[in-house]
Symmetry: none
Subunit: 251 residues, 2 copies
Amino acid sequence: MNSVRRERLKKYIAEKGIVSLKELTTIFSDVSLMTIHRDLDFLEEDGKIIRMRGGARYIGEISAHEPSFEIREVENRKAKEQIAEKAVRFIHSGSSVFFDAGTTTMALARLIPDDSFSVITSAPNIALEVARRTNPTVSMCGGTLNRSNMTLSGTSAMEMLEKVNIDVAFLVCTGFSLEGGFTCGKESEADVKNLIIKKARTVIMLMDRSKLNKMLPFTFCGLKDINYMICEGELPPKVAEAAAKAGVQLL
Amino acid sequence: MNSVRRERLKKYIAEKGIVSLKELTTIFSDVSLMTIHRDLDFLEEDGKIIRMRGGARYIGEISAHEPSFEIREVENRKAKEQIAEKAVRFIHSGSSVFFDAGTTTMALARLIPDDSFSVITSAPNIALEVARRTNPTVSMCGGTLNRSNMTLSGTSAMEMLEKVNIDVAFLVCTGFSLEGGFTCGKESEADVKNLIIKKARTVIMLMDRSKLNKMLPFTFCGLKDINYMICEGELPPKVAEAAAKAGVQLL
DNA sequence: TATAAAATGTTATAATAAGTTAGATTTGTG
DNA sequence: CACAAATCTAACTTATTATAACATTTTATA
């Protein structure tokens, strides 16, 4: 049945354009890394893909199905993947997990295992990514789509999210500074994040260091409102201090 | 004896598309593995299937009861594109349009112009497709995702859709018959479609002719409830008559 | 019922795929 | 530039699946 797997693999890469090997091992978790290597060799031989260190890129109709959104994804890809790897440990069977909209949460969505837990999200693209697996339940809020980051927000989003219970919420921000806290660019999105913070037992902020010392119009929370903050590396001492004081665990 | 089993085997493979040998030995547990091997040899000789290591794949139309989403997409692609071309004329600037979840509505979503109108949908993949344009406003309902056809449904979906106003709704069905009307496979999805019919000024059913004379568990409306029906070609006289009597315009 | 022919089962062996490990290569970082 | 970490490659081992040869059972028919 390896040809079936290779077909699936090819299709997956075709849809994504670029994939990482890590991602592939979580999606094709029934075979070993080496098998995936060999499958990629085969597909490359076949002229369908080009292998690149850490992953592969599709050759052919150029990302016909991909939103332009994906382009930004390349930026800080490494950092986001590192963050996602740390974050994925917080996901357990039976729990209910919220994914904020963003490229970092998308990186996380790619790594989540095919176990049974509930995923709630405000991002249609994340919902579709999670839905590739068979076991998780996928729910999303309604609302109006903001193209710049593929978020749903608005009153219907709020009404829906008001009703759900969340064990772990993975949030992202567009900017963070000690003065302004965690900020984003749209009021309606700040409202959604704010509501999630109220509803979630555990709040985990995923933030690559490029967000540091940036401040956008709307603050949706401060350090005191979150439980964990996951970055790709060390934070400046001042920030780390403030986090410790606010009871935030840094990972 | 063996021809009966081979018929059953062929049918089984046809429904599944791809099967593994393990699967077959559990289903046809009254015969040995070797017999199944020989049956597969026979069916391959006959041109019905292709053997592959560990299993076999069916050749020809896959007549599954509930074909997986990806497979269905390829099926009748031509028909769906023809339907979409006829349907796109109903979309005008300034109006608010609902897209049901399905491969036909996805084909339509690919054809819509980059004008300013509002799109509401219950399908995240359609939302993303429309969002590739810059001018339309994209909204979607919340709910829980059904992987087989990428629909959102459930109470949050209903609550959100209750509030919207729709000029034109493009609906699809999984089956249609004169006795059963328009049917689909999930009650919660029937609820959504039903609500849309109540809320929409104009209801347009997109249906390729493969849906004719199929009946699924849940009827969500009849001919009298819709305004237009768009198919890829002529319908049988009886159906056309019934449509005319119900005031449905066929395109 | 006896017998030949066909179908099925059994077993052994070959072919292929997948897993494992160790070592080579590349990349990032101070 | 040198070191450590990550990634890739290649060789070898194990497991799975396919094939072939032969034995047994079933079926059809005189």
